[in-house]
């Protein structure tokens, strides 16, 4: 039902959906991201990989300005979405976040019912004209996140009463339901079993036909499976960025190589 809009929206895509220039991020005095330059393409899945604490989540949160909520965080450089600087004074971060959705690393369902969790985004963005459409969006999103079968009988129960993996899938469904142009996913499958992981990967693959997806993952296999582009972060630097196949088969930077082969952490 929303296909029309999605098409409209993606008409004037440039190749670089998001382009970051000289991004530096500081938490107080500590610099967490250093000189990152990267172009994230439309209709592409980009994987961010790198050792824990290297700044993947931080960079991800810069893209939709979620870092605005951390008092001590400070960002320099520019990040452009469709050629417009997201840190421009005139930009409404709300609209930005509606276009750039996010799944957080720690599942954080609202303390509301499962249905309300998923329908929240569509509701505030007016994506459905009536209850039936809303129901449809909810079902579609939950199906996409491979959660429908498990929760279809308990949509009115609280989202916080779900298992860890279910919560994570709920958060994915919630993000998908808003139909963003870019979807940022911070380790969406970390708590999922292989089958659910497979289903989510399938969802990502579907999404790719219309949006751009950025996924943080610790699993090289997953990165290799779902992404077309991979960015390798290390100690706050973007060490290497390129086609996934290249990176995994033929890394240019020695750090990338040792990470992939399991030598540095």
């Amino acid at each position: 039902m929303n296909d029309m809009r999605i098409l409209e929206r993606s008409v004037d895509q440039t190749d670089a959906k998001i382009s970051a220039k000289d991004v530096q991020v500081y938490y107080g005095d500590k610099q967490a991201i250093k000189d990152v330059n990267v172009d994230i393409l439309d209709k592409t899945v980009t994987a961010f990989i790198g050792p824990s604490g290297c700044g993947k989540s931080t960079f991800l949160r810069c893209i939709n300005r979620m870092n605005d909520t951390i008092d001590v965080a400070r960002i320099e450089g520019s990040i452009k979405l469709d050629g417009e600087d997201v840190y421009d004074k005139r930009v409404d971060p709300v609209q930005l976040r509606a276009r750039v959705g996010m799944v957080f690393q720690k599942p954080n369902p609202f303390p509301k019912s499962i249905y309300d969790n998923v329908s929240y985004g569509p509701r505030i963005h007016g994506l459905a004209r009536n209850k039936a459409e809303l129901d449809e969006i909810v079902e579609k999103s939950l199906r996409g996140a491979a959660l429908w079968n498990e929760v279809k009988d308990r949509l009115q129960e609280p989202g916080t009463g779900l298992s860890g993996g279910q919560q994570q899938r709920l958060c994915i469904a919630r993000a998908v339901a808003t139909q963003p142009e870019v979807l940022l996913m911070d380790e969406p499958c970390s708590a999922l079993d292989p089958i659910a992981t497979g289903q989510v990967e399938e969802l990502i693959d579907q999404l790719r036909s219309e949006f751009s997806v950025v996924i943080v993952t610790h699993s090289m296999q997953q990165a290799a499976r779902v992404s077309q582009k991979t960015a390798f972060f290390h100690l706050g630097y973007l060490v290497e960025y390129g086609d996934t196949d290249d990176i995994f088969t033929n890394p240019r930077d020695p750090r990338t190589e040792s990470y992939i082969s399991g030598r540095i952490g």
Binding site: M66, T69, R97, N108, F110, P111, I124, H125
Partner: protein, 450 residues
Amino acid sequence: MTDATIPAGASPQAKDSLLVPDARTRKRNASEARFRAYGLGAIVIAVIMLLILLFTIITDGIGAFRQTYLTIPVTLDAQQLDPSGNRDPEDLKKILTLTYGNMLNGAVEGVIAESGIQVADLTEKDVNDLISKEAAAQLRNRVLANPELIGQTVESRVLVNGRVDGYYKGRVSMASAALDGNTSPQQLQLADALKDAGLLATRWNWAFLSNPDASDQRPEAAGVGIAILGSLYMMLVVLFLAVPIGVAASIYLEEFATKNRLTDIIEVNISNLAAVPSIVFGILGLAVFINFSGLPQSAPIVGGLVLTLMTLPTIIIATRASLKAVPPSIRDAALGVGASKMQSVFHHVLPLALPGILTGTIIGLAQALGETAPLLLIGMVAFVKNFPSAPPEGLFDPASALPVQVYNWTQRADPAFIERASGAIIVLLVFLLCMNLLAIYLRRKFERRW
């Protein structure tokens, strides 16, 4: 470090039975039990104190809801009440309560004579004082409202005086009456005799809830009608101003304001306002609302405004604390799906903070409901006899308030007012209880852990 450094048995890992706690666990459990006992003890102390206070209030005040009445036939002598005989309301008004009082006294004497009551040493004063001074006024109003009654003999239920009433509530005894200049054992004997004759009875007293205050000589007629209205009006003002303003201010300070010197100043300011003695708010109200902006004296609107300013800090402090307690991940989640800051606050944070907001509101309103001092300066600690009209105009009419009534009555010389004061406190607590019930309901609805 070697193993020797670890005292044997000190480790919880020593392979002891689970069923037999080791020494350290026992110690910790003992301290756990103590801790828990402290908690329970604290609640028990608080509840016992409450019960003691409630018990004293209720035993002292329940009497205010009962009142002793004398039912007698009164002949409304046309000669006295309408000398001109034309039933002209203007002329009828010229007859003062004094005449009606004498008529009632005559009626009592008549009843005594008729039922053959004999009391030794009964003086005329004893008989005349048996009936409340209020009775004459009531009778006059009845006649003015219905001039046809003139010339007839009507059954009247009249209030008896406060001492005799107190006698039936255990406040006055024959012994104390002997010492008391306002009554005498003879009067009490007369009352007993009338009671035996079935003319005098102590019954449930709705008038306490609907009557206005009465002067110091008529404790038996005093009621909290105006005070209830005044308090209600003020609470409406407070509810409609303090709660939204307080919550709005907290939201701004906690969720939107950048942390800078200005917000620090506001923050310190607010907690400081909480420490300002309530009478100072009265000074403020007098200076600003009455003298500067010309609002009327003794009006619930001014009282409400002053109490609003007084309760704001309480509501703000409570609301801020509970907003602070909502985990940031909830806000992140909302922002992440493209909700605006405002939406994340109103859709997610506020409902989660609601229990705390309720607490602040309840405590703030409770405090406002029971406050007298600021009302002293804006003229609400007053004797008001005419009911205010309905809001919104009524907000500008003179009115009293429940705590004011309590304060006034506890200052009065006649001990019968102490019972009234406690009765008014009971009414006030019922008010409070209603607010609490609402809060319980809302809390049930919104409280959850995550």
